[in-house]
Each structure stands twice: as C-alpha cells, then as structure tokens.
Amino acid sequence: MTAVDLAAGIKKKEFSAVDVAKAHFDQIAAVDKKLNAFLFIDEDGAMAQAANVDKKLASGEFLGPLAGVPVAVKDIFTQKDIPTTCGSRILENWRPPYDSTVVSRMKNADMVLLGKVNMDEFAMGSSTETSAYGPTTNPWDTSRIPGGSSGGSSAAVAGFLAPLAVGTDTGGSIRQPAAVTGTVGVKPTYGGISRYGIVALASSLDQAGPFARTVLDAALLHQAIAGYDPLDSTSINQPIPDFVAAAKHKDIAGMKLGIVKEFAGEGYQAGVLNRFNEAVAILRNLGAEIVELSCPSFTYALAAYYLIQPSECSSNLARFDGMRYGLRVDDGDSSVEQVMAATRAAGFGPEVKRRIIIGTYALSSGYYDAYYGSAQKVRRLIADDFNAAFSQVDALISPTSPITAFKIGEKLNDPMAMYLNDICTIPVNLAGVGGMSVPIGLADEDNLPAGMQIMAPVMCDDRMYRVAGALESALVSSWGGLLLDKAPRL
C-alpha cells in the first residue's frame, strides 16, 4: 500500500496506526536479515507513536495527511536518545541529545518513526558497502547494491519495510539509490529542507529529501519536512511551492524539457538508455516539447565534485576528535594529538580516510589554487550552464544513474569506478538546483530498475513533481501497476 492509502485507511479506521506499524515490524523481522537495511529498530518508540495517533483519532482530533504513516530514517539524522552512527564505528553507540529538524517535523506530522537505516560511512559512497555495519542489499537481487549512500532508505522502501524514508543527497545519494531500486527519490533545492541535526558531509552540497514508492507519496513527505528553519542559516526563507498539487496535476502539455547532450555516450548501459528514450517519447506524447541542449562544463563536474566534497568533508569531519562524544582510543599515556590520530585511525573506514586525505591535500597551501580554487571556478561554470539551460526550458531530464545496480564488491576497491555512478547527479548538487529520480522500467540486459532524473531551477521543485507525476501515471498504466510490483518476493 502507498502512504496515501495507509493514511486514508487509518483515518477511516479501516485499520489502526498500531496495526500498520505492527505489519511493518513483521515485514522487517521476516526479510531484513536478507537486506540489512535497519541499523536500529525502535519498536517501543514507534508503537507508542502509533498508539498516540489512534488515541488522537478516537478523540476526534484533526490530523495531518501522513498521520500514522511509518517512515525509515537514514542514520545521519539525529533523533533524541536513538543511536545515530552515520554508518561509522566512530559514532557507535552515540545517542544524540536532540532531534534534527527533519525528525522533529516528521514527529509533529504524527508520522511513526520505525528506526534508523544503513548508509555508506558518513555518506561517502554509492553502494552502502562502506558502512561499518555491513552492506545493505538490493531487494531486486540481494547479491547487488541498493545504491548509496542512502541505500538503507532505498532498500527499506523497495523491500516494503517502510512506505517512506528520508535520506540525504550530496552528489546523488538519494537519486541513485532510488534509480537502482525502482523507487522515487528527491533531492530538493539546496536550502529547501533544514540541515539542522544532519551530520555534515559537505555543507555546501548536502540536502535531505524523501524516498517513496510513488511520486505523490514523495510529495507529501517533502511537503511535511520542507521550509524555512532559523536553526539552519542556509535554509531559504521563502514560501515553499505546493509539491502535492504539482504531483496530482498530471498535465505537462506545453512544458519545455531539455535533454543534456553531455549525459550520454561511453559508460551508459544500453538498457538504461533504451528505457530513458522510451520515457522521453512518452513525455513528448503527453504534450511536452523536448529540446536537446548542451552544458559543456558538466564534463568537468565529477572532477570538481571530488575536490570540493573531500575538501569540505576533511574540514567537517575534524570534529570527530574523540574528545566530547564518540569513540576515544587512549592508552592513558599519549598526547591529545596522538589520541586523536589513533581514534580516527580506528574509527574511520578506508573511504573516509581517503577523502579526508584528498581534501586535506587539496586545501593545503601550494595546492589550493590548482585544486580547490579551480574546482570552485568549475562550479561557477556549471551553475552558469544550468542558468542558461533553464532560460530555454522549464526542466532538464537525463538518466539518473548510467548503469543499473552492480554486484556487491564489484567496485569497492576501485574508487574512480565507484565515483562514476554519480556522473549525472553531481552537477545538480554543485549548482544547488533540484533533482529527482523516477522509475522508468527495467533494463533489457539484467531486468533491473532504471531511473529518469528530472532537474528544475532553485525553488521550482514543484516542476519536477509535475513532470514525474505525469510520467509515472502513463508508465503505471502501461505496466498495469507500479514497477515495484514486478520485484521478486523476498
């Protein structure tokens, strides 16, 4: 059932919020051994939240559109008194003393928070394999990755462990997992959702967003968590568009959509491109005007990203020093510097160490201009290319990930091969515009899901929902159901 169906059933008292929570914990108990999506299951807390929703409904209280609907929370969001590890040993057993804004908004919307889900360590990765707590698997094929870094969120939604999930996206960490699991994932405009209480990876790129099985469900969750927050100085103080209305609109006649020429060619799986081209034809049939345009700087986005992101993360992760919270490795006889170095050696995994070192190098005097400084200039060119493109079209479209889900272990020791997964998603984060992924079918070669990415200008995320809603509607009627209905039973 979708979040919309669950919320309606709870309101009509066809079933209770407690029944719904219980059913999801049963599914978690039955299949999460195969998926390893959940790092912490908060059954007591969730059942209490669900019982409270039923009590409020019984007393005639008016509740919001997602009341009683369960949600899985990426382990990067702080939730008071609930372990928040960020997939790292360095935060093992840390229980934060406060709620992130996203968590408190979901609680205020009377949603039922099931627990914390797996991720690449400190959100660095495209496969959830760098988690210190073991990889999460893809419900379509458990020998494959569920994408990353928000792979616990995508697997939980695709595996029916939760109808909704929240994740974060720094270079594609919501959109790529959504694409490879046949789910909908949204990276909102930078500043559209508060970052308060989200463990920072790269502060100028990080953005939280929803995962769902349908476009409308994603819009409802997005609407519930979006909006200005004085606790995040980079949160945009403007009214948020009506994502829900846009998702329901279904009419894209007259919209101009641009295909970016640079997002094709070598490295793109033929089956992914086939589904993409079919989806483009559907959009054209629905009345959209399709234009091809060029964004030449996008070719340099991956290089710029893998300088900017490690640079920011080397600075952000300096806070994990073993002094105030988290792991401390101390033989009782060492200086503070030695304790920090030993703690970080033991607490961080290889990908985190690699990126901190790249970032430290890129920011070091003598290399700063050549690396970080140049990357910031490329970032400007990318933002300029987006501006030029959006002066010609309403939204841009591309494949989300150039390939479908790969085998666990296949790319783990080849960082550059792993980074190429984000080739289509990274420009969006660098420019701060919105991007979302919507399922477009199964690739011919491997019968695994592929996604289309829809990109819209800053604070125009409603346009993505409008395109995605219309496309989903056409595809679902051609498939006779959701793409996820074709997934094998776990």
């Binding site: 229980r95 003393p97 340099y300 020093d321 200086s335 430290t360 190098y361 200039k377 400007r380």
Partner: protein, 98 residues
C-alpha cells in the same frame, strides 16, 4: 601532475590526524594518484576571469536576534563524553611535560 610521494602522504595524514598503517600507505598512495590525476582535469577549463563559487546560495552573514534560548544541561552535554570530571570534558594532556 606530480605524484603523491609516500612521505608526502604521511605528512598529510598527520595534518589530518589520522594514523595510517604501512599497508594503508601503500594502498592509498596508488589510489590517490589515480584520483588526483583524474580531478586535476578541473584545471583544463578555468581561467582568471571566472569568479570562484563556494556556495549554491548567494547569502552572507545571516544574523538573528541575540536571545537566550534553551540549551543542554551539563549532564546532557556530557552524557556521551568518553571521559568527564567535575561537569567538564576530561581530555588527554595537551602540553608536553617539562
């Protein structure tokens, strides 16, 4: 681009406060060479005319009223500390012994 030497890698890791093992030094120096070669591509299209962009939003210095709000109690703030004493964080020695 110049390749990252083992000594250079070791000194960067020291700056980043990460104690690397010999095996990690071996593994990372070859991987980082590949990554640095690849990201050096950014230098191909930049020039002095382009204004660097550090952030997606064009905002500076966001201020708020200086009002006292709720904050964590010392007990809550110290609850996750590896070591504490007298309502304070207890840390390893920070000065060399004389």
């Amino acid at each position: 681009m110049s390749k990252l030497s083992r000594d250079e890698l070791r000194s960067i890791a020291d700056l980043a406060r990460i104690a690397l093992t010999e095996a990690e030094l071996d593994q990372f120096s070859s991987q980082l060479d590949v990554i640095l070669d690849s990201v050096a591509k950014v230098q191909e299209i930049v020039n002095d005319e382009i204004k660097p962009m550090s952030h997606a939003l064009d905002i500076n210095n966001v201020f708020r009223a200086d009002v006292v709000g709720n904050s964590l109690s010392a007990t809550d703030a110290l609850a996750a500390a590896p070591a504490s004493e007298d309502d304070r964080f207890r840390v390893p020695r920070i000065l060399e012994e004389e």
